[in-house]
């Protein structure tokens, strides 16, 4: 039951600008180089040795900021991007070498809906079924089921170019499920969806997962990764920086709580005093005014910090307390916020 995915040291270097869906901030541009000086060559390292193991039947999340390499990873796992080095396997089959085998078993929901604009919603599902060799009866029946489940029946015979973003997204997911794939890839599925549609989406993903299907989703919403994923990989600059279940990952943050504080100045003795406060696990201070405190408690630490500040003649200007979350985890590993 279910099919797993394994990657070995995947690397992807783009020598042309990366595809739009995979483009974003955070790529390392090394500029022109190589023997041919006339021809300007760019090398963009999008993936830098990604090794993953996605277990059969689990919901696996790839979490990271824009440009981290999430879409490139999905692109390689879905045969659409050729890896520069390394291999990816679907079950025991090499995805790049056995593309047709792989494509039969996967369903893909892209970051931006890529629906066939020349067709109606119903036709999109029917033709998709036909591409996968379903009989006319099967595909009619499945199309009707999916249109109902995704609440698209009343617009089923309209051209999709007239659809709203949310409807297109729902139809994209319906299409990806049409041939009942063993592995469903969702690339930023809830980007741009209203909260209600997002909840519907989560429910549909969970329901599909209950059938024993493997789900791989990318997101930069910590909350989404937290509620949906059984296991997660956090990815940044094309590298995996942490992997595990959401509770495991959260437990790996020193203390769990993060207090981001801002002072008018931070003298070294004052920093040592904060480090000595009960419950404080780690203090990081990047510049002369901000300090990140990892601790096992949140608000109850503030009086201690405030009195230490008063004693040192330092003014406390801003306080932000984060509960244990993937956001704080990401910050802990990368020094930058998911939204940066």
């Amino acid at each position: 039951m279910g099919i797993g995915i394994r990657t070995e040291d995947l690397r992807k270097v783009y020598d042309t600008p990366p595809p739009t869906a995979a483009r974003g901030a955070g790529f390392a541009w090394s500029g022109a180089r190589g023997r041919n000086r006339d021809k300007k060559k760019i090398d963009v390292v999008a993936l830098d040795g990604i090794s993953l193991e996605i277990r059969p039947g689990e919901v696996f999340g790839l979490l990271g900021p824009n440009g981290a390499g999430k879409s490139t990873t999905i692109g390689i796992l879905t045969t659409r991007i050729r890896p520069t080095a390394g291999r990816a396997f679907l079950g025991e089959h090499d995805i790049w070498r056995e593309q047709v085998y792989a494509k039969r078993l996967i369903g893909v929901v892209p970051q931006r809906p890529n629906l066939d604009f020349a067709l109606t919603a119903r036709e999109i599902l029917l033709f998709h079924g036909a591409y996968f060799g379903q009989s006319a009866r099967d595909r009619n029946q499945r199309t009707q089921e999916l249109l109902e489940k995704f609440k698209l029946t009343d617009r089923a015979d309209h051209l999709v170019r007239t659809f709203s973003g949310g409807m297109m997204q729902r139809l994209s997911i319906a299409r990806a499920m049409m041939h009942n794939p063993e592995v469903l890839f969702l690339d930023e599925p809830s980007a741009g969806l209203d909260p209600q549609t997002r909840l519907l989406l989560w429910e549909l993903v969970r329901e599909y997962n209950r059938l024993g299907k493997t789900i791989v989703l990318t997101t930069h919403y910590m909350e989404e990764a937290d509620t949906l994923a059984d296991r997660l990989a956090i990815i940044n600059h094309g590298k995996i920086i942490a992997q595990g279940t959401p509770p495991e990952l959260k437990a790996s943050i020193p203390g769990g709580y993060l207090l981001r504080l801002r002072f008018d100045r931070i003298p070294e003795p004052f920093l040592s005093e904060i480090r000595a406060l009960p419950g404080v696990r780690e203090v990081r201070s990047g510049d002369h005014s901000a300090a990140d405190i990892y601790a096992d408690r949140g608000g109850s630490l503030i009086p201690g910090v405030a009195s230490a500040a008063q004693a040192a003649g330092v003014e406390l200007q801003d306080v932000h307390i984060s509960e244990p979350s993937l956001e704080t985890l990401f910050l802990h590993h990368t020094g930058r916020s998911l939204r940066d």
Binding site: R80, V100, K103, R104, R112, N114, A118, F127, A130, Y131
Partner: protein, 256 residues
């Protein structure tokens, strides 16, 4: 090879083509047919052109219509589908090697080119009035030329569609298609270029020349034309080259 998927993709293209049948026919056939009417009817009847010009014109117009409609049927959708919306992804993810999707596009273009070419004959006949003499004395030669022209049209559409960006569509028409039509020996036989030896040699690089001359030889043999062996061989060679180039471009475009 997965025929079910192949035919499903072909029927998708057929479905879309049927839905856009009227605009498509207008787009591909109106201009050539207006040309037929003005040059083949108005100017011949008024005596500006000899009556036998009708027989010169008809095969040329047929060649132009076939080439244009196949190129349009393949290139235009490909350009949009590979653009921002990436509509083609759905079919790139279908369980078939992606080169078959390119082949499917070429076949769809061939079918549209053949339909357009065959539609031109009765339409032009009606528009030109009396005096057109076409013969179907060489049905095999006619069929072979038609198939090769249609293949050129579909493969050319693939090559252009995968090499041109959406912002360059206008340029494609004015830089590629317009000169090809004017120097394609569609409106005159190749032999009349003999006073311009350089031009006569230069146009040999234009595939439309072999299409027009080949069709001329097949249905209007009394008009001067190139030998069938030459046109068939040239079209075959061009088809192979254009198809190979188109498939390569498609692969480049489809896989990152």
């Amino acid at each position: 090879m997965n025929w079910k998927t192949f035919f499903a993709m072909l029927s998708r293209d057929g479905h879309v083509a049927r839905r856009n049948l009227v605009p498509m026919l207008l787009q591909n056939l109106l201009q050539p047919l207006l040309f037929v009417f003005v040059f083949g009817r108005v100017l011949t009847t008024s005596g500006m052109m000899p009556m036998r010009y009708k027989n010169v014109l008809l095969p040329g117009i047929m060649a132009i219509s076939m080439v244009l409609s196949g190129v349009q049927a393949v290139a235009m959708p490909l350009i949009t589908e590979f653009q921002f919306t990436k509509e083609i992804e759905d079919r790139l993810l279908a369980p078939i090697e992606i080169r078959w999707l390119a082949v499917e596009k070429v076949v769809a273009g061939m079918i549209q080119a053949l339909v357009a070419g065959l539609a031109v004959i009765p339409a032009a006949w009606l528009l030109m009035g009396s005096g057109v003499q076409i013969s179907f004395g060489h049905p095999l030669e006619f069929a072979a030329i038609c198939l090769l022209v249609a293949l050129f049209s579909g493969a050319g559409g693939l090559a252009l569609g995968c090499s041109v960006g959406s912002t360059q569509i206008g340029l494609m028409f004015s830089l590629v298609l317009a000169p090809m039509m004017m120097f394609g020996c569609a409106y005159y036989p190749w032999s009349v270029l003999s006073p311009f030896p350089a031009l006569q040699i230069a146009v040999l690089a234009n595939p439309l020349v072999y299409a027009s001359e080949g069709l001329r030889g097949a249905i209007a043999p009394e008009v001067p034309h190139m030998p069938a062996v030459v046109t068939l061989a040239a079209l075959l060679a061009i088809d192979v080259a254009v198809l190979a180039f188109g498939l390569r471009q498609f692969r480049k475009k489809a896989v990152t």
